[in-house]
Symmetry: C2
Subunit: 244 residues, 2 copies
């Protein structure tokens, strides 16, 4: 029997992109009173989970994502650890811990990961709990310290996309330059100039133009591109070209 760590968890901020907005995966947390059946907790959390005693945290985070999306090999990066002694001390959180058999007094520290997926690659599923995409701008108050975790994850993402080629993770394998531009715009919350953007990405050899075009769109169909990690790894010098 595999032991669960009583002190360590992982939380995954799973970002997705729906074609216009940056979204994040949110789980409903509901608790009914044992006797009255009355709904005593009804709020939301990020996706997270326990870590097995013999399990590296990266594996635990991957496990959460796999359970959730069925996807393996998802982009995943540790960004910060949250360990404040009071992070689970709000009344609802204490109630929740008790009702799920945890010691509400224990200090549980959580390692935050963020992850990027193309929402259309994902069929959501999580052990009967209700899971859904919510635009980052519309996320309300979350349980635990999850608003803080989300905030830090977003800040990390905003910085990271300047220097690392990870925006592709939010798109289908084949994507248009407009989609790529939209991802940057959604993450930064600003608008970019189309011509300048295209001049910029034209320099990136690892963005490979295909002989394919969009179909089924009611306008001039756009060319499709793929990201080549191979080419990227061979031309790492251009890393900082990602500053846009």
């Amino acid at each position: 029997m595999r032991q669960i760590s009583q002190y360590l968890s992982v939380d995954c901020v799973l970002f997705g992109y729906n074609g216009s907005e940056l979204e994040v995966l949110i789980v409903d947390r509901t608790l009914n009173d044992e006797k009255s059946g009355e709904l005593v907790i009804n709020d939301c959390t990020l996706t997270g989970n326990h870590v097995y005693e013999d399990e590296p945290i990266e594996e635990a985070a991957n496990r959460v994502l796999f359970d959730l999306t069925g996807l393996d090999n998802v982009f995943l990066e540790q960004f910060k650890t949250f360990a404040h002694p009071n992070r689970l001390k709000r009344p609802n959180d204490q109630l929740w811990l008790k009702s799920t058999g945890r010691n509400p007094e224990a200090r549980i520290i959580t390692v935050g990961f963020y992850s990027l997926v193309a929402t259309d690659k994902v069929k959501l599923q999580w052990k009967g709990r209700n899971v859904r995409w919510v635009p980052v701008s519309e996320v309300g108050e979350l349980a635990f310290d999850h608003n803080l975790i989300l905030e830090e994850a977003l800040r990390t993402l905003q910085t990271r996309i300047k220097y690392e080629p990870i925006t592709f993770e939010l798109l289908p394998d084949k994507f248009t330059l407009t989609q790529l531009q939209n991802v940057y715009e959604a993450i930064w919350g600003i608008e970019l100039d189309k011509r300048n953007f295209r001049k910029k990405v034209a320099r990136m050899k690892y963005l490979i133009q295909l002989d394919e075009k969009q179909t089924g769109v009611a306008h001039k169909p756009a060319r499709l591109y793929v990201f080549s990690r191979d080419v990227y790894d061979k031309t790492k010098k251009e890393l900082f070209d990602f500053t846009i």
Copy 2:
């Protein structure tokens, strides 16, 4: 009696600059056999410590630094958490844990912080244990997973100084532009052009030229500068000018 967490620690990678090289603070770890008195462990670690159950990790890290340097308000940033189940499983590490009254089977996770100080501000002192500055390039094999931690800290530092005004932390309050340039060169391990460097920093309004010069040097004395966080906070837009 304040309880110590059995599962959580902090490690601080304390970087210093000695005028020519980037250094890191290293602690000797020695253990004598109880009976024979023979030296059974004689190696080095980074500086780290336990966390009290009711103590935020940032405070724990600050406490380590204060005990070590007598300095408060030192630059300190969490960079990564290390939690691999086998991270303390090498024979010497197991021996050490046993001999210091810890459970060698327990999984101890550690949150890594890095910190920057001007070595000449510091009088080292650490509970009788031998502590010293070692150039980063000359650090040998360290105990636990501390080589990995150091590596990640250095990588973080190299990236961070491109976008954040933190190099000043490694210098005396008043410094010369050559010293500043040397810090970048030491951290990146490359040489920079003096004239171009000066043109670049001349644009940074938060580098304030004093009406003071070096004294006691056997050459034309250099002008002294200070970093103004005030001005920096007011002109944050220029953040990315730090790319050098």
